[in-house]
Point group: D5
Chain length 122, copies 10
C-alpha cells in the first residue's frame, strides 16, 4: 500500500476541521470477486500533522485490487489515518453503491484521549 504522507499543521493552536471527499473509490468484493464502488468522506481535526492530498489519493487507489468488505475497509482507512496523523478527532464514511437493490453507508469515528491532546499542544 502507498504510504500516507503528512505535512506539519501550521495552526496547531486552533481546533479546525479538514474534509476530503473522494467519489472515485473502488475495491473488490472478497466473496464474489466483483468490483465495489464508493464515495469515501474523511473529516478530521488535525493535531501536529495534516495528510498530504496526493499521498491520500495514492493510498485510496491502493484498494483497487484488494478484496475487502464494506465494514472492514471503512474501519481500516480510519485506523491507518489515526496511525499516520494522530488527529484530535476524525470521522471516515464509506458510501457504497447499490448492490442487490440496497445501498450501504459505514461511518466510524475516533477521538484522541484528553491527555494525549493536552500533551500535543505544548
Amino acid at each position: 500500500m502507498a504510504i500516507l504522507e503528512t505535512f506539519p499543521n501550521r495552526h496547531p493552536g486552533r481546533d479546525y476541521t479538514i474534509i476530503h471527499t473522494c467519489p472515485e473509490f473502488t475495491a473488490v468484493c472478497p466473496k464474489t470477486g466483483q468490483p465495489d464502488f464508493a464515495t469515501i468522506r474523511i473529516s478530521y481535526v488535525p493535531d501536529r500533522e495534516c495528510v498530504e492530498l496526493k499521498s491520500l489519493k495514492l493510498y485510496l487507489q491502493g484498494y483497487r485490487d484488494r478484496g475487502i468488505y464494506y465494514e472492514h475497509v471503512t474501519n481500516v482507512i480510519l485506523d491507518d489515518l489515526v496511525a499516520a496523523l494522530k488527529p484530535r478527532r476524525i470521522t471516515v464514511e464509506g458510501d457504497f453503491h447499490v448492490r442487490g437493490g440496497i445501498s450501504s453507508v459505514v461511518r466510524a469515528d475516533y477521538e484522541a484521549p484528553r491527555r494525549a491532546r493536552a500533551r500535543s499542544r505544548r
Copy 2:
C-alpha cells in the same frame, strides 16, 4: 421468512454506524389486498454481529406476499434485527408511498441497556 444471517463484527472495540437503504420494499395492505411500496432505512451500531447483506435482501423480500400494516411492519423489522444482531443501537424507518393523497413515515429505535453493552465488550 428468510433468516437474517450475521457475520462477526471485526471492530467491536469501536462504536460505529452501518446504514442500509432499500427502496425496493413491497408488502400487501391487509385491509384492501392492494400492494404497498416503501423505502426501508436501517441504521445500527453493531455489537458482536453485523447483518449479512444478501440475507437482509432476502429477509425484506419475504414481506412481498404478506398482509401487514405500516406501523406494524416497521416495528417487526426492528424486533427481528434486534433479535438477530443484538446491536448497541438501531433505528428502522419505513417511508411509504402516497395512499389517498397522504404519504407516511414510521420510525422506531432500540438502544441496548448499559449492562448488556458493558458485557458484550469484554
Copy 3:
C-alpha cells in the same frame, strides 16, 4: 366534520414516531372567501391509539368548505388529534402557499404530561 378514527397501537412499550404528509389540504380564507392551499405535516409518538389513515384523509377534507385562518386551523388540527389519540408527543405543521408574495408556515406541538404517560404504559 368527519370523525378521527383510531386503531390500537400494537407496540405501546416503545416510543416510536409516525409521520403523515398531506399536500392536498384546502380551506377558505374567512376574510376574502378565496380558497387557501397547504401541505399539512403530522408527526406523533403514539400512546395507546394510532390514527386510521382513511379517517385522517376524510377529516382533512372536511376543511374544504370552512372559512378558517392559517394560525387557527393548524392549532385546531393539533387539538383534535390530541383529543382523539392522546399521543405522547405530536407536532402539526401547515405549510401554506404564497399569498401577496409571502408564503407562511405554522407549527404547533403538544407533549403529554409525565404522569399521564406513566399511567398509560401500565
Copy 4:
C-alpha cells in the same frame, strides 16, 4: 361558472406566447366523490384578446365543487379558452396528483385555421 374576461392584445402584429401556471386546481371525482388536485398549465399565442388573470383564477376556482374526469376537464378548459380568446394557438395541460399509485397528465392543443388568422390580423 365565472366568465373568462379578456382585454385587448396591444401587440396583435406579433406572434408571442403567454403561459399561466396554476398549481391550485381542485375538482371532484364523479365516480368516488373524492377531491382531485392538479396543476393547470395554459400556453397560448393571443390574437385580438388576452385572458384577464383574475377572471382566469375565478374560472378555475369554479371547478372546486364540480364532478368531472381528468380527460374531460382538460378539454373543457381548452374549449372555454378557445371560445373566449379565439387565440392563434393554445395548449392546456392538467398534471394530476397520484391516485392508486399512478400520476396522470392530460395535454390538449388547438390551432386556429389559417384563414381565420389572416382575417384577424387586418
Copy 5:
C-alpha cells in the same frame, strides 16, 4: 391477468395526449427468480377509447408474480394497450432499477396506420 377496461373518448375530434406514470411496478426476473422494480410511463393519443385508471393499476399489478424480462415486458404492455385502446399513437417506457451496477430503460412506440385513423374519425 386483469382486463384493461376502457371508457369512450369524449373528444375524438381532437388529437390530445394522456400520460400515466406508475413508479410501483414490480415483476420477477425469470433467470434468477429475484424481484425487479421499474417505473412504467405510458403516453398515448386516444382514438375512440381511453384506458380506465383503476383497471390499468390492476393490470400492472398482474405482473407482480410473473417471470418476464425487461425488453419483453415493455413490448407486451405496449401490445396489450394497443389491442385494448386502438390508440392513434402510444409510447410505453419501462425504467428499471440498478442491477449489477447498471440501470436500464426500454422504450417502445406504436403509431396507427393512416387509413385506420381516417376511418375511426368518421
Copy 6:
C-alpha cells in the same frame, strides 16, 4: 412607513411558531443608489398578538424607496416586529442577492425576558 397591524392570538396558552417568507423584498443601497434585492424570512412564537399578513406585505413594501444597509434593515425589521407583536421569540433573516460576486445573509434574534412572558400568560 405602513403600520404593522396585529390580530389577537387565539392560542396564547401554547408556544407555537409562525414563519413568513417574502422573496420580493427590495430597498436601495444608500452608498450607490442602486436597488438591493433580498428574501426576508420571519419566524416567531406569538404571545398575545399575531402580525396581520397584508399589513406585513405593505410594511415590507415600504422599504422600496428607502436607502438602507443590509445589516441595518434586518435589525430594524426585527425591532419593529418586536415593538408591534411583543412576541415570546423571533428571528428575522435577510438573504441578499449577489453584489460584487458575494451574497450575504443577516440574521437577528430576540427573546422576551422570562418575567414578561410569565405575565403575559396570565
Copy 7:
C-alpha cells in the same frame, strides 16, 4: 428611461448568441398599484451592435416605478432592444412571480427580414 447603450460587435461575420438573465426586475401593477417581480431573459444574435451590460441594468431599473402590465412590458422591452440593437434575432422572456396562485411567463421574438440582414453584413 435610461438609454440602451451599445458597443460594436467585433465578430459580425458570425451568427452567435448572447443571453442575459436578470432576476431583479420589478415594476408596478397599473391596476392595483402593487409591485410586480419578474426574471427577464434576453437572448439575441447581434448584427452590428451589442448591448452594453451596465446600460441594460439601468434600463431595466427604469421600470421600477412604472405602472405596466406583464404582456405589455415584455413586448416593450423587445421593441426597445430591437430599436437599439437591430439584432438578427432576439427573444425576450418575462417570468413573473405568483399572483392569485398563478405564475405567468410572457415570451416574444423578433427576426430581422432577410434583406436587412444581407445588407448589414456587407
Copy 8:
C-alpha cells in the same frame, strides 16, 4: 476481454430503444497510469440481437486494468457493440470525471445502412 453475449430480440418487427447506464466504469490513463472514472451510457435499437446484461457488466469491467484514452475507449465500445449486436442504431456516451478542472464527454453513433436493415427484417 469478456465476450458480449446476446439473446434473440423477440420483437424485431418494431423499432424500439434499449438504454443501459453504467456509472461504475473505470480504466487507466495510458499517459499517467492513474485510474479514470466514467459513466457509460448505451442507447440502441436492436435488430435481431439484444445484449445480455450480465455479459455487458463483465465486458465493461474488462477495462479496469487497461490503459486507454477517453476518445478511444468510447469508440471501441461502440465498435464492439456494433460487431456483437448489429443494431439498427446505437449511441455510446462516456461521461468522464473532472481531470485538471475539466470534465469530458465523448459521444459516438452508428446507424446501419438501409439495405442491411431491410434484409434483417425479412
Copy 9:
C-alpha cells in the same frame, strides 16, 4: 498564450462528439480591472485532430491576467480552436457569473465548409 496541442483522431471515419466543460475560467474585465469568472463549454466533432486535455487547461489558464470582454473571449477561444483543430463542427459557450444582478451566456458555433470536410476524409 499556451499553445493548443493536438493528437491524431483515431476514428476519423466517424462523426462523433467531444465535450469539455471547464468551470474554472477566469479573466479580467478591461473596463473595471475586476476579475470575471465563467464556465467554458466546448463541444466539437473532430476531423483529423483532437485537442490534448492538458494543453487545453493551460490555454484557458492563459486568460487569467488578460483584460477581455465576454463576447470577445468566447469568439477568440472558438477561433483558436478552429485554427488548431480544423474540426467538422464546434460550439464554444461562456457562462459568466452575475455582474450588476445580470448573468450572461455567449455561445458561438463554427461548421467546416462541405468541400473541406470531403477532402479531409480522404
Copy 10:
C-alpha cells in the same frame, strides 16, 4: 494585500449573525503553480465593527496571484478577519474544487474570550 475596512456596528447590544459567501475565490498552488478555486464562506457575530463588503471583495481578490495551501489560506483569512473585526464569534470555510479526484473543505472558528466580550459591550 488590500486592507479589510470596517464600519461601526449599529446594533452592538444584540448578538446577530452576518454571512458572506464568495464563490469566486482563486489562488495558486505553491507546489504545482496551478490555480486553485474555492468558495469562501464567512459567518460572524459582530462586536463593534462590521466588514465593509467592497473591501472584503478586494481583500479576497488579493490572493489571486499568491501561492498558498488550502489549510493555510483558510486560517489566514480567519486571522485577518479576527484582527480587523474583533468579532464575538466567527467561522471561515474554504470549499475547494476537485483535485486528483478529491474535493476538500477546510473550516476554522474563533470565539472571543468572555472577558473581552463583556468589556466591548459597555
